[in-house]
Subunit: 331 residues, 2 copies
């Protein structure tokens, strides 16, 4: 094998983004930057699943609109989500007359989708691709954990699934925000079996991909203004810093975790946010704003995913994790 | 939008394949061609899920071995399956120290994975990619339908999920089997709500992608020796022929469906086989043998997928479907 990192010769651009988030999320850092903040986390739908799908549809639709292109110019939708059979993605794609590529990387889905979409554009096969994902607290709780109605107590190491969605419109040109490389992650499993402790489970995967990326690009951490992980949460973020420090790499100065920063007040959320929508909303709103206007010029988005299912956990398996990274630079 | 079809300039090759199938499948047409036929559909494991994962691992491992390359030469595994959170793919990928891209297209997964892998190789980003998928009758039944122990009666329009897995090793050169183009499908939903009638639900998606492919490549159906669909089954295959005929295109002479041919005796299986493993096993064993030795030189593999989940069906939704197609030619 050569490297795990793909270098994009033609530097595909992030032409636009669109984000939507629930009331709890909008009380935090992303509130000022999202395209739409919801008062009602059912978004006028009869079920939470339909609300999740509608948020994703909104993010796709408005990413295209914000980029000033027509729907029929878009060559592909690269979408995924956390629900069984990624139904939010499939049902959202049904509303667009655009080829659909379903992907699954749990909470790493946005980075995987951006990497694949950038590949399609960089190689000249496509002109416009939307990469998008989302999640919903109430659909994730009942699928992965317990019915909300049970009112189960949450352990202190747990995170809170973000209600929100984010879409990124990728294009050949038209924006200073370029996707310059992507590092595809391997599955890493350190034997964690506590399904409430995703941060600890995912931190080794984040370390693996971040260190691989830095090595293969011959960069030190300070090349980046920000090294952003998806949703390790407060505890996982601390573990990641320790794990990379053990390998002689100090990311402490410029590392930030979307899960750790998404909620202002860490109260019910304990370690912070999680879910595919976490990095999608924080990256698409707050972080892209920083890239466009905030003096941040180089960012590594390393989104992590825990690839378990309730069945794998029930059958005694530990939690395999992954992290895909894309570097986004103002050029 | 230009076209939905990507033309591969450098014609990435199918260097090798590997397949494994259960006892019921090996009694049929693929029995002579699979790398391994199982006597025991639990493959020595304690659960059907673990058996499914082990079959997928076998297919990946032996595709690499059959191609005569080393594991560490492989740049990526593009994998998916039908289980919630594609755990067979994720857990199989855990055993390889190779970057992993999770995809989900239900039973269209193999074609989606081959298309993405071919893109990676054609564009020069990667040298070797494994595309693989699989399914298991007993895991699919309990996830999508009823526990086996209930002994539910199956309606006559139903299909039988194939127990098996198939892997394809893609490379720049080294084989006369080339992937020459890929047509990515859109989500098509004709409003079918009968979750036992997948063939009828998926046939319109197959028509859409096949007709798009023929139009964009400026080919008539007789360009291909075989137009192969994934798992429409006997009824779905007949519907597809009618639907394309209505549009003035006659594929009757050279259309064959993997689901229709996988079982010799259509008895319990009614309309034939289905599942992500259906096209993976039939293509990887019997059809690739025909391409290598049987006088078949041009094949369109149009794998179909029904993108529903038990939850979407329970919430009253119809069945959104997709079909991705790749053309495989002896060059």
């Amino acid at each position: 094998m050569g490297t795990h990192t793909v270098f994009f010769r033609n530097q595909p651009r992030i032409l636009s983004t669109a984000t939507i988030a629930g009331p709890k999320e909008c009380a935090g850092v992303v509130g000022k930057y999202v395209d739409k903040g919801l008062q009602d986390d059912k978004f006028g739908e009869s079920t939470f699943e339909k609300a999740e799908c509608k948020m994703l549809t909104y993010a796709i639709e408005h990413a295209i609109e914000n980029g000033g292109v027509e729907r029929d110019q878009v060559d592909a939708l690269v979408l995924g989500d956390l629900l069984n059979q990624i139904i939010s993605a499939s049902f959202a794609a049904r509303d667009f007359n655009i080829p659909f590529l379903g992907v699954y990387g749990a909470c790493s889905t946005l980075a995987e989708a951006i990497a694949l979409g950038s590949t399609m554009i960089d190689s000249g096969y496509m002109n416009y691709v939307v990469a998008a994902t989302g999640s919903h607290f109430s659909t994730a709780e009942r699928q992965y954990r317990y019915p909300l109605e049970l009112g189960c107590t949450r352990p202190p190491q747990s995170q809170w699934t973000v209600t929100g969605a984010g879409g990124v419109l990728l294009a050949k040109e038209g924006s200073p925000l370029a996707v310059t490389s992507a590092t595809f992650g391997k599955v890493v499993d350190y034997g964690i079996t506590d399904v409430n402790n995703m941060g600890a489970a995912m931190a080794p995967a984040a370390r693996d991909t971040i260190l691989t990326h830095l090595k293969e690009t011959n960069r030190s951490p300070d090349y980046y203004d920000l090294i952003v992980t998806g949703d390790l949460g407060a505890l996982g973020s601390r573990i990641l810093k320790d794990l990379t420090w053990e390998k002689g790499v100090d990311i402490g100065k410029n590392h930030v975790d979307c899960g750790e920063i998404v909620y202002n007040v860490v109260e019910d959320e304990f370690q912070g946010g999680s879910g595919a929508g976490c990095s999608a909303v924080v990256f698409g709103s707050y972080l892209c704003h920083k890239l466009r206007h905030g003096g941040i010029r180089r960012m590594l988005l390393a989104a992590t995913g825990a690839l378990l299912s309730p069945i794998s956990a029930a059958q005694g398996e530990s939690i395999p994790c992954i992290c895909h990274a894309v570097s986004v630079e103002v050029v």
